[in-house]
Amino acid sequence: MVIVGTGPVGLALAIDLGQRGHEVLVIGKFDFIPDGSKAICFSKRSLDILDRLKVGGQAVERGVTWNVGKVFWKDSREPIYQFDLLPVKNQKMPGFINLQQYYLEDLLIGRISELPNVEVRWGHEVTDVSTSASGAKIGVKAEGGDYEITCEWLVACDGSKSTIRNKLDLDFEGRVFEDNFLIADVRMKGDFPAERWFWFDPPFNPGKSVLLHKQPDDIWRIDFQLGWDIDREACIRPENVNPLVKAMLGADVEFEREWYSVYTFQCRRMARFVHGRAIFAGDSAHLVSPFGARGCNGGLADIDNLGWKLDLVLRGDAPEEFLETYNIEAITTADENILNSTRSTDFLTPKSAVSTAFRDAVLDLAGVSDFARAFVNSGRLSTAVGYPDGPLNSPDEGDWLGGVASGYPVIDAPLDEGWLLEKLGGRFVILSNGGQFDPPLGVDHIDLAARTNARIAIERLDLRPGSAYLIRPDQYVAARFRTPDADNLTAALKRSSQGVSA
């Protein structure tokens, strides 16, 4: 089992498979963690995943927690629109944290060092790849001499310029957006709150947008929209950036440059993520615009979906074809992320006089009328994506109105002294409220009726007495029953762990 890439996605997958007891080799071309400006916003769903990988607590501790986003227009002091990313409280993890990507990578590497069955080779570059029906072969360039490795499964987490994708001559279709954004990461003692602040057409960047985020260590990210025709070299020179930042923060605020860079973006994905024994996850498989923070969060969703499925296949408990369900579900996620980030981009950077008119009309009305606020799109922030028509779901048994439907992640709630999601862990679980049945062999049964502090969990899941959920190892609901019994539970388990109906 080989993973190519030591970005957040490859490292997280290595931990997941390592925790499940597999021998994992990770190959990464750098022998350092690159700094510079990359992801900062990590979603609640990602934190739930990271918690399962045993670094969630540290990420929250190290990061800046935030839940509220505000949107300003022109020189307005009051937001024209405001949203809360954690509308349902009483969950272990917050709506979002901001944490520099290199800090997250550092935490992941720390966790890997606790797993003796995971080996990371730093400074080794994959230069060649071929696949067969039974595995893959890669060529690796390393200081101590080039070599080849054959493996049963190869997961390509090698980023947007994926060597594996290119060498296998695979497609990567989509749209490039004609706009540039300047990222100014600055160090300052600002008294802005830990919230996401977004401006349309502010006096300090007329006609364009600006985004402000707080990061740990008194670092702030300011993201200025620049437009299309720019000199990329000149744009990041301090003598050009500093006046922009000053105009925004006010002449009396002292700040220091941390990192200035310019980026453009694209929304694209591969037609398929599973190519025989080579599987793609993260930026190698899909790219989105950063508005909505769906890049790295989307990549973590990939490995959350892939880890347990590969585990079953590696153990011989599920057929190889089971991985097709990763292809289906991860593409559902990627498409939703691409759709949302494309829509945000079209709102942020209108492409014609008419779309500008609609955008400005929305902003006009949002200041005075509730209904228009829903149209304001400064980025729809990453949340877990559902698979309502997913191949692993079983239809509801009995009458369900509330709760969490099949194909959606279980919502967290307090339980005993801790939290529901912690107790679910990374395995198949039957969660019931006093359910009377024999659980299928090897599947744990958590009976909320026998636990303390379970009222909120019971309500959130609409677990009336006697009913039960079957929950997948990625904490998505596979099936739910008002009258669970050994037969319907076994059938649903078979479907969700084999991809076939009984």
């Binding site: 500008t356 008119a357 009309a361 929305v362 006009d364 009305l365 009328s369 209904f371 228009a372």
Partner: protein, 70 residues
Amino acid sequence: MSEANILSTADADTIYAQLIDLHRGRSDAESLRLNARLILLLINQISDVETVLKLIASAEFDTMTGEIAS
């Protein structure tokens, strides 16, 4: 297209005149913005996704046959 609730010519003329008045003396950009606001207000009044989506699609009808582009 639906022909329900046909307006009287008098009402139609009044509404039409108001629309033209709204745009009198405006630049194209201002007019576009006003029209966009108006469309949003109408959408709010209709307040039903299915109906709104149908109406948006029906804007692209064939002027000869009245058929809505698919």
